[in-house]
């Protein structure tokens, strides 16, 4: 066990995966000599050499397209997109190719690429260094979508992602890259996909979140406790595959749900959770399902604190939900 920040845990995960399997390689902009603009790939070039740590030209199309080719050939590429906001030049390769390769070839060509990207706001990054567009990827059949919120999960889920047989979009909450630290097991301790993590249990209301919203929601739960409201916090960890059972079980107990994410509300991931509950937990529900999310505006610069879900907004929504019934 060692105490690491989240970004250090990512770095550790990459290094261990590369040590364990010579087929694993890393490619992206500034990932080599510079060690990544967030230092997630720091030291990898030195340890593994330029054949396994590729500083690429400035083309996300090229990064993901060539990663797909490498994966088809039999390697296990881990592509870094510098910010999730810059993934769109690769969108065609991701949604048209990566997501559909296994399916369209009748299973002949599995295509296992991990695409890592820091996502989310809270770093004064404005429109293009802050977005959370996980819903695009969740809506694309054939992709797995992972969002860790702790150092241990960051490493454990990354190891699972690299070991997986399917393409994985691995979204790293850059806002808490360094602010969150935690014990991280040594060695290949994988965290399995499809299992939500119970952050705290409660009886009055279920708070669902992931990534950088976990600290916010956890703090909200503490504040709610002081008001006499017992809130359960579930960290979804993998959005695809989603641990639907854990979600339904939780609402089966509490009867109330608040869904929290940074992304814009309209057609965001929270909508899917609401829909799931409205479909499969209808008779357990005691109150309307609340969504605390980014607003339906582009991500702002000066006003990001108005835009982003805050502890207060989560508390208010939970309180209202509990009062409603």
């Amino acid at each position: 066990m060692s105490e690491l920040t989240l970004v250090q845990a990512v770095n550790r995960g990459l290094a261990e995966a590369m040590r364990a399997d010579p087929d694993v390689l890393v490619l992206g902009e500034d990932v080599g000599v510079n060690g990544g603009v967030f230092r997630a790939t720091d030291g990898l070039l030195k340890e593994f050499g330029a054949d396994r740590v590729l500083d690429t030209p400035l083309s996300e199309t090229g990064i993901v397209g060539s990663a797909i080719g490498m994966a088809l050939y039999g390697l296990k590429p881990v592509a870094e997109i510098q910010f999730l906001d810059f993934i769109y030049p690769a969108f065609d390769q991701i949604v048209s190719e990566l997501a559909k390769m296994r399916y369209r070839s009748g299973g002949q060509y599995p295509c296992h690429v991990v695409v890592r990207a820091p996502y989310g706001g809270g770093i004064k990054g404005g429109l293009y260094h802050s977005q959370s567009t996980e819903a695009y990827f969740c809506h694309t059949a054939g992709l797995k979508v992972v969002v860790p919120s702790t150092p241990a999960d960051a490493k454990g889920l990354l190891l699972s992602a690299i070991a997986d047989e399917d393409p994985v979009i691995f979204l790293e909450p850059k806002r808490i890259y360094r602010s969150v630290t935690g014990e991280v097991p040594e060695g290949a301790t994988r965290v399995p996909f499809g299992q939500a993590r119970s952050v705290r249990s409660g009886t009055d209301v279920s708070l669902f979140a992931y990534g950088a919203m976990i600290p916010v929601v956890t703090e909200a739960a503490t504040a709610l406790e002081a008001e006499g409201i017992s809130a359960e916090v579930l960290d979804l960890r993998t959005l695809v595959p989603l641990d639907e059972e854990a979600v339904l079980r939780s609402v089966g107990r509490t009867g109330r749900a608040v869904v929290v994410h940074e992304a814009a509300r309209f057609c965001g991931f929270g909508a899917e959770l609401s829909a799931l509950l409205a479909e499969k937990a209808f008779y357990s529900l005691k109150a309307p399902i609340a969504r605390v999310t980014g607003y339906d505006t582009p991500f702002p610069y000066a006003l990001e604190n108005v835009y982003l879900p805050s502890v207060e907004r989560v508390v208010a929504a939970a309180r209202e939900t509990v009062r409603a019934s």
Binding site: T61, Y103, G142
Partner: protein, 357 residues
């Protein structure tokens, strides 16, 4: 197998050049491919297959380039390359099954006709979005180089695809990493209704390679031997670690863009007629005749064999079972997720209800 003669292994003529025997084999494949084209256009008109994209006019480039490859090379095709698959030893039946999308189709009926994938022959899954195979071919090339495998990757695309994002990214990456990749641009003068000279203003398509620091060459795509030689040279360069080559094979799309297209809306018949004078199948036929490698009787036999092979394969494909409805839910992931299991159960129930009288 009608096509096995054209199999891409170094013949007695060594690695370079094509022996008379291999030339006849190449011709046999070209005739089969041309006959397949004609048959499939008819099948589509009769509603027996849903779509078809013909390659007539491009056979010399397809067969000539494929003959220049080795079995361990990787092919990243677009949608007009079934003749390449034939040369690489893909059974005719497998191709026809894909066109029908039946239960025997290796792609399990998932794709439109012409969007093939043949793992055993390293013929990678084709898709419709133009150009996407180009960066993938480069990635596979980089991977092969990292693994020190003495192979090349080749990718096929059209004149239109030179405008795609992946053309730019793919050629640039190939230049930077000296990928062992052969870029085979089939300039057939048209991208649906857009003529080549409106696609881009560069004097040739081949010269675009210079923008990425490696050579581009123009070749007469109706000349099987010229194409073969050009690809052979490019492949040798690739395997020797000298990097990529862009080959522009100048051909002409004799047929419609696809069965959904009416080319009379945008190009004059005279242009097509002129191109027919350069028909690559006729050209090779004439060359073989002059060289005394083929006479009319042998030619007639080749044509007859092609017809017979196709008739048999089509009959077999039509008799095959349709794809299993619940296979819809397979291959999304390596294993079905709980959600896919639930949706599969939902679909199974609907299918059962639909069957009830």
């Amino acid at each position: 197998m009608a096509t096995s003669q054209a199999r891409s292994s170094p013949g007695p003529d060594g690695a370079e050049g094509l022996s008379g025997e291999r030339l006849v084999g190449a011709y046999r494949t070209m005739v089969l491919a041309r006959t397949l084209d004609e048959r499939c256009l008819a099948l589509q008109r009769q509603g027996r297959i849903g779509f078809y994209a013909p390659h007539a006019g491009q056979e010399a480039t397809l067969v000539g380039s494929a003959l220049a490859l080795e079995p361990d090379d990787w092919v990243f095709p677009a949608y007009r390359e079934l003749a390449v698959a034939l040369v690489r030893g893909v059974p005719l039946q497998a191709i026809i099954d894909q066109l029908f999308g039946n239960a025997d189709d290796l792609c399990r009926g998932r794709q439109m006709p012409n969007h093939f994938a043949f793992r055993d022959q390293r013929f990678v899954s084709a898709s419709s979005p133009i150009g996407t195979q180009i960066t993938q071919a480069v990635g596979a090339g980089i991977a092969a180089k990292l693994r020190k495998a003495p192979i090349a990757t080749i990718t096929y695309f059209g004149d239109g695809a030179t405008s795609s994002n992946d053309f730019h990214a793919g050629l640039n990456f190939a230049g930077v990493y000296r990928a062992p990749t052969v870029f085979l641009c089939q300039n057939n003068e048209w991208a649906i209704s857009l003529p080549r000279e409106q696609q881009t203003k560069s004097a040739t398509l081949a010269m675009k390679a210079e923008a990425y620091g490696f050579p581009g060459v123009v070749v007469d795509g109706n000349d099987l031997r010229a194409v073969h030689a050009a690809v052979r040279r490019a492949r040798a360069r690739a395997v020797a670690g000298e990097g990529p080559t862009l080959i522009e094979a100048q051909v002409y799309r004799l047929g419609p863009h696809s069965t959904s297209d009416d080319p009379r809306r945008y190009r004059p018949d005279a242009q097509v007629d002129a191109a027919r004078q350069r028909d690559p199948v006729h050209r090779l036929r004439a060359e073989l005749g002059t060289a005394g490698l083929l006479d009319d009787a042998a030619d007639a036999k080749i044509a007859e064999e092609a017809r017979a092979a196709l008739t048999a394969a089509i009959a077999h494909a039509e008799a095959a079972a349709p794809v299993e409805p619940l296979s819809l839910f397979d291959d999304v992931f390596a294993r079905r997720t709980p959600r896919l299991d639930a949706e599969r159960a939902e679909a199974a129930q609907h299918l059962a209800e639909a069957k009830r009288p």
